[in-house]
Symmetry: C3
Subunit: 311 residues, 3 copies
């Protein structure tokens, strides 16, 4: 049983192993567990996109997906996450995919439950399957990360993805730079990657990774219009023309068209935006396989606390 909680906990060989497995799925490889296995997706923060991607991955692996409605669950009435997951474990669920707005929500679970937890996003912190699908997309394009220049542009402070990606890409041998409004940067971020102005970053990178503007998270202290942001920090058609030959554009989606990126560029030659979504399914298949391949399946007698046998 293997959890997947953060990108940073994965060693470079573990990342490479997941990418290799995902690539095999992309090329048509199939894998199904020997027994009927049950999985539940607990999305305490809505995310149709990520949830649908997990659902497709789960069905491709032949898993039984148990619907779990977070809005009506006992968690709303104050039940702890531990008690909820322990209940699912008791009724025979073999693994859980969780998205939760609280940072590191999984700390209360680890070591106490026996089924794997796959983190589908926590607070502002971690979103490892998104990082891994980004890595797969880059690897498919360039075969190796060694010496690649990757610029990550936008609201890095609020981005689950940016910080995990910067860390993993650096460990894999890439050179990462951050860009975007200087107002959104602080010193802690600049320990992770250097800052470059937008034009330099876009012109010199192999991968231009744009982040979604999180309107809902900002406090109004920055007062650009969408059009102003686009001209100052967005990937305009004019900037795209100055990109390196063979370089690619990435974005975790959903895209604010004509804000982070010009509408016409979303599906341009360089864009790997929909390719990223496609790869998300293969990454999730690989991650699920990694977590579930040693699970025996079926309900097991879970009450280990009892010291005398139940007939």
């Amino acid at each position: 049983m293997e959890n997947l909680l953060t990108t940073s906990e994965l060693t470079v060989p573990e990342i490479q192993e997941i990418l290799k497995c995902a690539q095999a799925f992309a090329e048509g490889k199939e894998w199904k567990p020997e027994k009927q296995l049950f999985l539940a997706n607990l999305f305490f923060e809505p995310s149709t996109r990520t949830k649908c991607s997990f659902e497709v991955a789960e069905r491709k692996l032949g898993l039984e997906v148990i619907p779990f409605e977070t809005t009506t669950s006992s968690v709303v009435k104050g039940e702890t996450l531990y008690d909820t997951i322990r209940t699912l474990e008791s009724i025979g669920v073999n693994g859980v995919v969780i998205r939760h707005k609280e940072d590191n929500y999984f700390q209360e679970l680890i070591g106490k439950i026996k089924i794997p937890v796959i983190n589908a996003g926590d607070g502002c912190g971690n979103h490892p399957t998104q990082s891994l699908l980004d890595l797969l997309t880059i690897k498919q394009e360039f075969q190796s990360f060694q010496g690649l220049k990757v610029s990550i542009i936008g609201d890095i402070r609020h981005s689950r993805v940016a910080r995990s990606n910067a860390d993993a890409l650096t460990r894999l041998g890439a050179n990462v730079v951050f860009s975007g409004p200087k107002e959104w940067f602080d010193d802690s971020m600049l320990q992770e990657a250097n800052y470059e102005d937008v034009d330099t970053a876009i012109e010199t990178s192999d991968v231009v990774m744009l982040l979604r503007i999180q309107h809902e998270r900002h406090d109004g202290s920055t007062s650009w219009t969408s059009e102003e942001y686009h001209q100052m920090y967005g990937l305009t058609k004019e900037r795209e023309r100055r990109m390196k030959p063979g370089s690619i554009i990435m974005h975790p989606a959903p895209v604010n068209r004509d804000v982070e990126i010009a509408d016409e560029l979303v599906e341009c030659e360089r864009s790997r935006i929909f390719k990223q979504m496609e790869n998300g399914v293969f990454i999730r298949m690989a991650v699920l396989k990694r977590s579930l391949q040693s699970v025996e399946g079926g309900n097991v007698h879970v009450n280990d606390y009892q010291k005398w046998p139940v007939a």
Copy 2:
């Protein structure tokens, strides 16, 4: 790949082909695609009845149905329908069933996405699977449409079904008349079918098709009580006794009992109301088969915009 968007786009031979296929399913024929195929039902306007019917049809065909929660999707945050469907296409969904309150919502999709769209209702306009299930029910009863008299009674202006049915039935050789409160009619409707008073329509028709009173759509300008409506325009027990021998009663449901139709008549000998629901599953199976039978299945590399190969 075939979309199903409106009844009017279907030729008479196409309608006959769908009815024939649905009748074969009604008689126990089975069909399943060779590969695992994924489908999503996007109901932006709730309709448990239609959604459940599609779900049963989809499961009978062995499809994988990916849950899609419209209330928490990015569409709510302003994502276009195109970007949503394009995302589903990217993650490997092979077809979408959509209900949407906007008229002709599908215009922004057609020609731009590669997976089939099946329209499960748009605005006040089209609801082709409802029309087709009505046609199947009539055909099962009378074998042919030629020379049949069909009266459609009620709120025709607000009815998705009435106008599509009138058009299709006329093309198939039936004689359609409209009836109900004159206040609810306008000139455009009377180009589609003649108006007859309720008593004449009911006494002389082979098929009496009642429409649901859409309380929620009316502006209060008509001020009948339910009882008054029932006496003036409803199918009362007294009117039912004057129906032609062998004639049948239809209603798209849900029924307002004792408004459009007397409570005791909902499941009377002449009623095909629950038969219509039963036929809905077979029609949806036929329509899904028509759309999916040429789909290869599996994720395909969807980024056609890129001009250089991805490893």
Copy 3:
């Protein structure tokens, strides 16, 4: 076709038969219907826990579970439960699991629909699968009910489970006593079982069955804090030490930790709380099998009211 509506309608041999079948499932027995069968879970009152348990049971039996969203169904617009279930029957659903806040909601269905109804809880009254899973847990522990002393402690007046359990346990040969705040008892309850003070009940019972405090149902007339309730009527660590050797603790969950039971005792040696949840799946499999094993499957022509044949 067998409904499961209340525990009291089950004879002792019927209860024993269900427990035997559930125990076989617990030991790994498998059973699947010969044909594809469809089931819908209609939870008009939310209960993630019970719903997930039914879902796992249904998937283990290979059933097709049709999602039914009660919040958007026509029931909200005033459609009767009968019309809703009749619709599901018409589209080919072979059985329904229903939770509803109205007492005996199923009375309007019985004898009028042809598919089995499994009651997953009604009002304050019945919750037969919860009773049966409690019985299975006790039987696994003690092999027989004869002469066992079972105390049920807490809010018996508002408990679906307590009264059904008291009745069934008594019929099976056990000696049941009630305990908890005297203010919560009335004469009708004391016809079902004797009252004992909490300390006596806990010290002398083979099974201590705690009930959840239903904060949401109380009117504020009782004014203990959680801590006060715990000290006066809860299973404290101190009380647990005085329990009989080999005696067990049960609770229907979700638990209010440190109210009905001390936090540390929820997973102690004596606790069968998570074992109960595990057993819930096997009971639901047994109950579903009992209801579905004679169903033929597939859509049947449901319009029995028509007197002339449909082609």
